[in-house]
């Protein structure tokens, strides 16, 4: 098991290397000359050169990359140009809000997807199945910021059932925290719910055709038991893959949702930093998003082993 994880990590290295090069180049080449930003009025060549030397910008590009990578390896993502806070601190400060949003969104998506997908598979061709199938295409077609806006309009502006945006930390007031997180989580999780439902449905249909389902029926297990106790575990194996990708993509979806609901998470930090031209912060968040996505893939493989005993990590 440990050797398997190590081997997988080793295999990730080339891709991880390319990812860092990509992020470095993109941000480095595009951010313009920071000396001009820092100097303001006094733009004498000497002053510019001095700043360049100070920031290491007079070194060849690969040396700059090496220095940057060296810092990165030590967990040093640099400092924000605007607030001078370290990037890791800035991200860590915002991370709890994003995680709460992401976890509730994921729960919402599974809570919708697994029962609906199962019902659609069991009652194939029924009205419920057609509705569910319509939802699988519809759910991924409506942008999550639009879902968010409609939810705000209906449930908070018109009916005053939920607060409009804002974040209350879970540790301060769990009830208020959940009340605040619900709408953004639904907005964020609906596309995932549609994808998960599609996978649950098709996978359940396939599993229900297997011989071992008939064995379970022959034992006297009821349909309900056959579906939920026997078939579901098999059916969920492929669903794990997409769910894993969704976990890795939490930051991605959060960018938009957090903007709609003024949710002080990592996603909103990314958008703010782009407009502030605070590229070290953007760089840090993009790296975080890419790496959590890659690690989610690894996690998927490990969960696979738990769900499907036929897979061994020898």
């Amino acid at each position: 098991m440990t050797t398997y994880v190590l081997r997988r990590l080793l295999l990730m290295l080339p891709v991880a290397f390319l990812v860092t090069v990509g992020v470095f180049l993109l941000i480095h080449l595009s951010r313009g000359d920071p000396a001009l930003v820092l100097l303001g009025e006094d733009r004498s060549p000497q002053a510019i050169a001095a700043i360049h030397h100070e920031l290491g910008l007079d070194q060849p590009l690969y040396v700059q990359y090496g220095i940057w990578l060296g810092r990165l390896a030590r967990g040093d993502l640099g400092r924000s140009v605007i607030t001078h806070q370290t990037v890791s601190d800035a991200i860590l400060e915002r991370l709890p809000a994003t995680l709460e949003l992401g976890v509730v969104a994921l729960l919402w998506s599974l809570l919708v997807a697994i029962p609906l997908g199962t019902i659609a598979a069991v009652r194939r061709g029924s009205v419920a199945d057609h509705l569910a199938t319509g939802f699988t295409v519809g759910g991924v077609s409506v942008p999550n910021f639009f879902i968010g806006i409609v939810l705000i309009f209906v449930l908070s502006v018109s009916l005053h059932l939920f607060p409009f945006g804002g974040y209350v930390p879970l540790t301060r007031d769990p009830y208020e925290s959940l009340r605040h997180v619900l709408l953004p989580a639904i907005a964020l999780g609906t596309a995932g719910a549609a994808i998960n439902m599609r996978f649950t449905r098709s996978s359940m249909i396939e599993v229900l055709n297997h011989d071992f389902i008939r064995t379970a029926r022959a034992k006297g297990a009821s349909w309900r038991r056959v579906v939920f106790a026997h078939a579901l575990k098999n059916a969920l194996i492929p669903v794990v893959t997409v769910v894993g990708l969704q976990i890795g993509g939490i930051i991605e979806g959060a960018i938009v949702t957090e903007t709609v609901f003024t949710w002080p998470g990592v996603g909103r930090l990314a958008v703010e930093s782009i407009f502030d031209r605070d590229y070290t912060v953007v760089q840090g968040i993009v790296l975080l998003a890419a790496f959590s996505y890659m690690f989610a893939n690894l996690l998927v493989d490990l969960v696979y082993g738990w769900l499907d005993p036929r897979i061994s990590y020898a």
Partner: protein, 294 residues
């Protein structure tokens, strides 16, 4: 959470070989319905100058915040007195070309990478595929946002970014097809007869890829419209005063309590367009996938 069904679609094989379009529409009502919706969208975009009742950019401060169905403004007007319906209609003229250029970028660049990768093999293949892996290591929207952040916010840059995001799907699709073909005996045979190998491969790959690419382009177009709207909503794509749906939602969200239409109408525009393309892709896949035809 990734709104990218496109990445999922490529994994599923589709029937190769020619299919009569008329037959397809006749036998699969879902294909016909969604193709009709898509055609309607194109028509709206094409005829925008003719069918839109007002100039989408004409500012009339005296007519600001008109409710729907007042004095010739079917959907009312926005905070600057611009006609909402006209802006929605013109929005199609912004979204569709962006989406199709983006899909074109992904298709051409990805197709070339896949072709070279599959045809050359060896080290070239290894390096190119690692590059594709690196692109896939980013969640789709993060990659697009990262690129736009680097290039600077604009509609053109959003288009380029969405195109780059689409590269891996097509690269993998074309590479798999090329590899499969390279192993077939007739390729070696015709090669020994002096046929130009690349031309041969192209001549055989293109028809074989037609169906899967058709499905993929349709799904990618849906994703591209969605991504463009998202970037513009964040302020990273279309800039004011372009009548762009995502941009309009961003502006309209501030007036939700009194004039919800300003945000909801463009949202419907996006949703219907993306839905049409996704439905078309989905219906085509069902129709062209032999495994689903039991």
């Amino acid at each position: 959470m990734s709104n990218a069904p496109a990445l999922v679609a490529a994994a599923e094989p589709t029937l190769r070989g020619r299919i009569d379009p008329v037959e397809l529409l006749r036998r699969y009502p879902r294909v016909a319905l969604s193709a009709g919706l898509v055609a309607l969208l194109f028509l709206v975009a094409l005829l925008a100058p003719i069918i839109s009742p007002h100039d989408p950019l004409a500012v009339e401060p005296d007519n600001a915040y008109l409710k729907p169905f007042t004095s010739g403004h079917v959907l009312g007007t926005d905070e600057l007195g611009r006609d909402l319906l006209s802006r929605i209609i013109w929005g199609a003229r912004v979204s569709l070309p962006v989406a199709f250029v983006a899909v074109g970028v992904g298709l051409v660049a990805g197709g070339l990478i896949g072709l070279v990768s599959g045809y050359k093999g060896g080290l070239t293949d290894l390096l190119l595929m690692r590059l594709i892996d690196a692109l896939l290591a980013f969640p789709a929207l993060i990659l697009a946002i990262g690129i736009v952040a680097g290039l600077g916010p604009s509609l053109t840059n959003a288009m380029i970014a969405i195109g780059i995001v689409g590269i891996p799907v097509y690269a993998r699709l074309v590479r798999a097809q090329t590899l499969q073909l390279r192993q077939m005996e007739f390729v070696t045979a015709t090669r020994s007869l002096g046929a130009k190998p690349l031309r041969l491969v192209l001549g055989h790959i293109v028809p074989n890829l037609l169906n899967p690419v058709l499905v993929q382009v349709s799904l990618s177009a849906g994703f591209a419209i969605l991504a463009e709207a998202t970037l513009s909503f964040l302020g990273l794509g279309a800039q004011v005063p372009t009548p762009d749906w995502g941009q309009m939602i961003n502006a309209g969200a501030r007036f939700l309590s009194n004039d919800p239409w300003l945000a909801i109408a463009p949202g419907l525009g996006i949703s219907i367009s993306v839905y049409s393309f996704n439905l078309l892709g989905d219906a085509l896949r069902d129709a062209l996938d032999p495994r689903l035809r039991s």
